[in-house]
């Protein structure tokens, strides 16, 4: 323990995965985290402390505030103790001489002191969200930043201004800001603050570009060879690879199902008119024939709904996770880089045995970074897993529900 202020608490990198308190993990109670427990080093972990045994003093702002928040924030699954609520809604089209674009309203309600007012309502366009994400990535490189919906619309057939497209995008943007708002570190990011509150983001944009350029360079270290990746990160990497694969497969299957269902729908549509024309020359069979005709048209509309819902709700979430995984892989790579850099530098230092100078600060800094990285990553990983579990649970249950609804509709009509 270096100082009394929370800001210089030792890095949590020495803890193992299970021991790290997590504000959003359902199983653990965050309150069990105390400053003392963070000091003990876990034998399972590779020894990253300095030869003299003192824990490394962390001074990078990124992780220290995260530690603070991890300790202070309670479980807030119910949202009772949450103090930041953000929504994205009300898409509007703007036509100017240069271009046409859509803006969304971003509403914020908060009790945090970092904000000047308790409520905000601003208009943002996709560009602004993109800016925010880039800023977050640059300023919090050790964290997993939630993904944005795709920037470019690949299929030229899709209308950028169609209701469905805009709505799908709005939902994804809403998810994005909510995830950032729920994140113990990211939500306190100054850029996020600006995004939520500034009347005119463009001015900030210019400023931001100038001042924040430098930061990103720090973490883009190239050319260092990685000695050994700690097991858990290797496992993460493997998991992500397989997971991406499976998600891809599921996406393909879902799309195929939608296609087959649409074709089935086309054929179903033919039924009703045939039955109707049959009634025209039957005397006694009117009732059952009309009944069947009615049922058929009901079937078709129910199936139509099902297919629509699947494409609108199910597929985008899958895509989003694929994007998420991409950015996660990038973070893992960065982490590897940082570790590699640290190792190389450490080696260089160790060789210079004659110089009894204290360990150069830059090596320390490197170690720092590695620790932070690892910690943040693990923490984020945990919550990502959790959230993912929830998301997919919801998603697949939703899919099941939709199917159930479809069948119920058809059944009820038939019973009539």
């Amino acid at each position: 323990m270096s100082t009394g202020t929370p800001r210089s608490l030792p890095s949590s990198g020495q803890k193992s995965l299970q021991d790290i308190c997590h504000p959003l993990s359902a199983e653990e109670s965050a309150r069990s985290c105390s400053p003392d427990t963070l000091k003990t080093s876990n034998p399972g972990e590779k020894d990253r402390s300095l030869p003299n045994g003192t824990p490394v003093d962390t001074s990078s702002p990124a992780s220290s505030s995260s530690l603070l928040n991890r300790l202070q924030l309670d479980d807030d699954l119910d949202g009772e103790t949450r103090d930041l609520f953000v929504t994205v809604d009300d898409p509007k089209k703007h036509v100017s001489t240069m271009e046409t674009y859509i803006t969304y309203r971003v509403c914020t309600k908060t009790s945090r002191t970092e904000f000047d007012f308790p409520e905000y309502s601003v208009r943002r366009r996709y560009q602004d969200f993109d800016w925010l994400r880039n800023r977050l990535e640059d300023s919090q490189p050790t964290h997993l930043i939630p993904p944005l919906p795709e920037k470019f619309v690949m299929k030229g057939v899709v209308d950028r201004f169609s209701e469905e497209f805009v709505e799908t995008r709005r939902k994804a943007l809403d998810k994005f800001v909510k995830r950032v708002a729920d994140h113990p570190v990211l939500s306190f990011n100054e850029h996020f603050n600006a995004f939520l509150s500034a009347k005119d983001l463009n001015k900030r944009l210019g400023l931001a570009l100038l001042t924040k350029m430098g930061e990103s360079v720090k973490y883009v270290t190239g050319g260092y060879k990685l000695r050994g990746r700690p097991m858990e990160f290797a496992a993460m990497g493997e998991y992500l690879d397989v997971f991406t694969q499976k998600l891809g497969t599921i996406d393909r299957i879902a799309q195929r199902i939608i296609k087959e269902q649409s074709e089935y729908l086309m054929e179903l549509r033919e039924y009703s008119p045939v039955y109707t024309s049959w009634t025209s020359f039957e005397e006694d069979l009117h009732e059952p024939l009309e009944g069947v005709a009615g049922c058929m048209s009901n079937c078709t509309s129910a199936l139509d709904e099902l297919t629509e819902d699947m494409s609108e709700d199910f597929l985008p979430v899958l895509k989003e996770y694929v994007l998420y995984i991409e950015s996660m892989k990038n973070v893992l790579k960065k982490r590897d880089q940082v570790q590699a850099e640290y190792e190389t530098k450490l080696e260089a230092v160790v060789f210079r045995e004659d110089k009894k100078t204290p360990v150069p600060t830059d090596v320390e800094k490197c170690q720092d970074r590695v620790e932070c990285f690892n910690a943040d990553l693990k923490a984020d990983w945990d919550r990502w897993q959790n959230n993912k579990g929830q998301d997919f649970r919801q998603l697949l249950t939703g899919m099941a529900d939709k199917n159930i609804q479809y069948y119920e509709k058809v059944r009820d009509r038939e019973l009539e």
């Binding site: 499976k246 033919e270 009944g291 579990g389 649970r393 697949l396 199917n403 069948y407 059944r411 038939e414």
Partner: protein, 434 residues
Amino acid sequence: MADSGSGDIAVIGNTDLTTSESENNIKNTMVEKGTNLLKRMEIGVAEAEKRTGKNAVNMQETYTVYLVETRAVDASSEGTTPVPDSLWRRYSEFELLKNYLLVTYPFLVVPPLPEKRAEFVWHKLSADNMDPDFVERRRVGLENFLLRVASHAVLSNDKIFYSFLTEENGWKESVFETGFQAKADSRLKALNATFRVKNADKRFADMKQYGDELQSVISQLLRVRARAADRLYGVYKVHGNYGRVFSEWSAIEKEMGDGLQSAGHHMDAYAASVDDILEEEEHYADQLKEYLFYADALRAVCRKHELTQFELEMAAQDLISKKQQQEELATGTVRTFSLKGMTSKLFGQETPEQRETKLKMLETQIEEGEELVKERNRECEEFVKSAWVDIERFKEQKDHDLREALISYAIMQISMCKKGIQVWNNAKECFSKM
């Protein structure tokens, strides 16, 4: 064993039928009360077997034979059910029987046979006549045919029909001995001929039109059904892929693993359930097909009426012109323009002796003509009477059968929905436990 006491339900003489098949048979045949043959006898088509033999051109061929079983009704009242009499028949023999009936009873709507070749198939495989599913459906159809004939007040009393059921050998010869073949050829010709009838009974004309419309609408339905079945199969089967990928996915998950795995199993079950669904739908299609072919039989009866009417009109027409000729010759006046009149004017009139002979000839012809017209008239009236009775019977049967078919189709759809709901509920449960 089926109960022989109830007069309304068709009796089936086969213990090997599954409950669904028995149900199918009962649904398929509507038997009238107090039918003759079925009162005395239980009839069924029990099995199918493959045989190989030499055909007409002395080449090896494989064909299927069906076991026709019969049992006297009162025999089972002793408590022990005796072994039924049985013989083997192939499809071509059934066809022979049907053609004989068509020719011999042109005023009846003769029940149709199941289709010769699989039509309106949705799955390429089932187009094969040797496919076991096809053979099985054909067996049911053949039994249905026999039961319908046996329950018909007139047809069931036919001797050839009876010997079809009871005499294995020599039956074919006895059919040909009836000389129906000659009638069959002329019937075919007549059915395809085009002629105009002046005073067809309107009811028959309406019935014919109805037959056409029914045929058209059922064909359309069957076509749509085939395409829809194909698509539905695709939808269900692709869901099976979910099963596999969920299983693979569960291998890399800690908490979500079990839920995913079980959900995957449900997806597999869902995919597999389509086979049963389509089989049941096939049954509905078969019921529709029967009436598709019935429409043909109905049309044939109406056509026959037109033919008899036409022949009557021809005979009447002929008589009128002969009488006219008689009058002209007798009075010497040429009332209408005729070639005879022209030639006689040009080349001179006939001698009185020639006229006498002609008149005598005409008299006999007119007498014969009048007889012929009377006969034809009688034939026509009789035909109309008996045909209309049978058509009314057919109408009732059709209404009843199709209503039942539509209702059971709806029931089937409902059960399909229920199953779907169940599977997805199960999957949902698994998902929520993830």
